[in-house]
Amino acid sequence: MNTLFDKIWDSHVVAKVEDGPTQLYIDRLYCHEVTSPQAFAGLRARGIQVFRPEKVYCMPDHNTPTHDQDKPIEDTISKTQVDTLTKNATDFGLTHFGMMNPKNGIIHVVGPERGLTLPGMTIVCGDSHTSTHGALGTVAFGIGTSEVEMVLSSQCILQSKPKTMRISVEGKLNEGVTAKDVALYIISKVTTGGATGYFVEYAGEAIYSLSMEGRLTLCNLSIEMGARGGIIAPDDAAIEYLRNREYAPKGEEWDKAVAYWKTLKSGVDAVFDKDVLFHAEDIEPMITYGTNPGMGMGITENIPVMESVPEAGRISYAKSLEYMGLEAGQSLLGKKIDYVFLGSCTNGRIEDFRVFASLVKGKKKAADVVAWLVPGSWEVDKQIRREGLDKIFEEAGFALRQPGCSACLAMNDDKVPAGKYAVSTSNRNFEGRQGPGARTLLASPLVAAAAAVTGVITDPRKLM
């Protein structure tokens, strides 16, 4: 009761269906090309228009190639899907940032960076990583395509109100520990389904010490423990992040908005259905060894032995390690890797590229590692060049690619071959996620950079 989540949710309730879901008003709908075509087809079948077109923003990101974006997409099926979004946005009068538009990028990178995501909003998208936007004090969650159609047709969605969970991380973070490590640590403790049914608020000193980019990374990964979403109360850092952003309010409207945003926090009497506390000093750089994001460990730890796994989960655990080609009890340090991916809605922001650059500066990419550096948006790409990070990458033997979701889910050509190991800054290590048979080790940009220059899993603190 009286949590930040409750305040935003309750203020958006249009109606309550008796012994059923809540009809919730949605302030912002983001649409990408993969999960929207059938929703637009649904509108056409019903012969209806988009109810509030000014609240909907569309951009392709999943299928976009990371090279030659000025030329037509070679994969004809991908091209059809991207073209379908352009047509739908045009036909229904929606804002659309198409490929090569300087505002294009991964939808969860673009929303915050353009100031389209603002504190107090309800935000949905046909994409589970919509939880990202909670970092700016929004109630943001992923939905299915039928639900996209609901929002297009009525600006509302029918949802059951989730329970609330507060996850506090107190104390100061250790050197070499990033927001990604905090997230992977939390998920490894809560487990991949442990927050299902809950909306999480992150709190505590270590959380508020994170930059906005770091908080976006943390909230992005909320879904990986099953949470409906994650939220962080907006503080001065959040407000400064939004100042002068393109779609953020200006002048008097800005002052009014800031006054409201400052009220957006859980009450001192707030009651959470579940309260969890972690200590920052327990967290070291993390890496995953299995096939769900909950299967993570400190980089100096060993893969858990079978006896430590609950009996009902042992078949899945053995299957997972077999897929990964790893043994229970093994350390990953020194393990040879083949690919490195820096990017995605999890770690494709400017700070991620700064961190990666800080470690590879003056070093050389390991000769047999293939590295994909994919900015989350054209804006991130521009900032990388403005700061001269591109020169650092070039001297170290890395090349920047063009923005998009890329190897995170390999819907474009950026696929990791079967059996190869990829240290990836993305969000999922599911079987086949980065290409059929690909073996994904999730980690922070720092751990990815250390692997990229040494060719093996390396504790980045040894290179700092």
């Binding site: 249009v14 109606a15 269906v17 008796e18 012994d19 059923g20 879901p21 009809q23 008003y25 993969v34 999960t35 075509p37 059938q38 087809a41 649904g42 019903r46 209806i48 109810f51 999943h62 299928n63 099926i77 059809t80 899907q81 379908t84 046909g126 994409d127 589970s128 919509t130 992923g142 939905i143 299915g144 395509t145 039928s146 639900e147 609901m150 047709s153 009525s154 509302c156 949802q159 991949t192 389904g193 299902t196 049914g197 879904i223 099953g226 769900n292 009902a312 989960g313 078949i315 899945s316 889910l409 390999a410 819907m411 999922r428 599911f430 079987e431 086949g432 996620r433 059929p436 048979g437």
Partner: protein, 194 residues
Amino acid sequence: MKEKFNITTSTCVPLPLENVDTDQIIPARFLKATTKEGFGDNLFRDWRYDKQDNEIESFVLNNPLYSGKILVAGKNFGSGSSREHAAWAIAGYGFRIVVSSFFADIFRNNALNNFVLPVVVSDAFLAGLFESIQKDPKMEVEVNLPAQTITNKVTGASEYFDINSYKKLCLENGLDDIDFLLSNKDKIEAWENK
């Protein structure tokens, strides 16, 4: 897809794995379609077929002993991506009910929106059901939506399952949420103007 629900009695297909994620239900490379049809052919694609598109005999969907309208899966079924394509694949293949001890949130909503009923059972009921199916692949399960019960017809074990009465009404009558929301525009406009 909007076939009305009442009482379903069927044999089951067992998938005793935990954390079956939506990338396994339908891999990302099959998400490029712009319609809802055809996803059933690629349900569990990478567990069902090898790289040369040959059937992998050991996978349950390729085992002629098992068939039916009910998929029985381990804990935390449907985790990961929000892709509704996972529900389209399950419905497209011919499943009408998925039984597990735990479902991921978005998948559960997507399933209901496609007239696939997720039935949450206790760990003990699930373990008993897997055992019964292993002993006799032709054993049947009855899912009674009006009474909200699921019954293992071999052991007689029966459990009550939860579903909110709005969604139950939708499933029993073949109604969807958009019909409901469209009939509710005045309330939406009143909210916007307040």
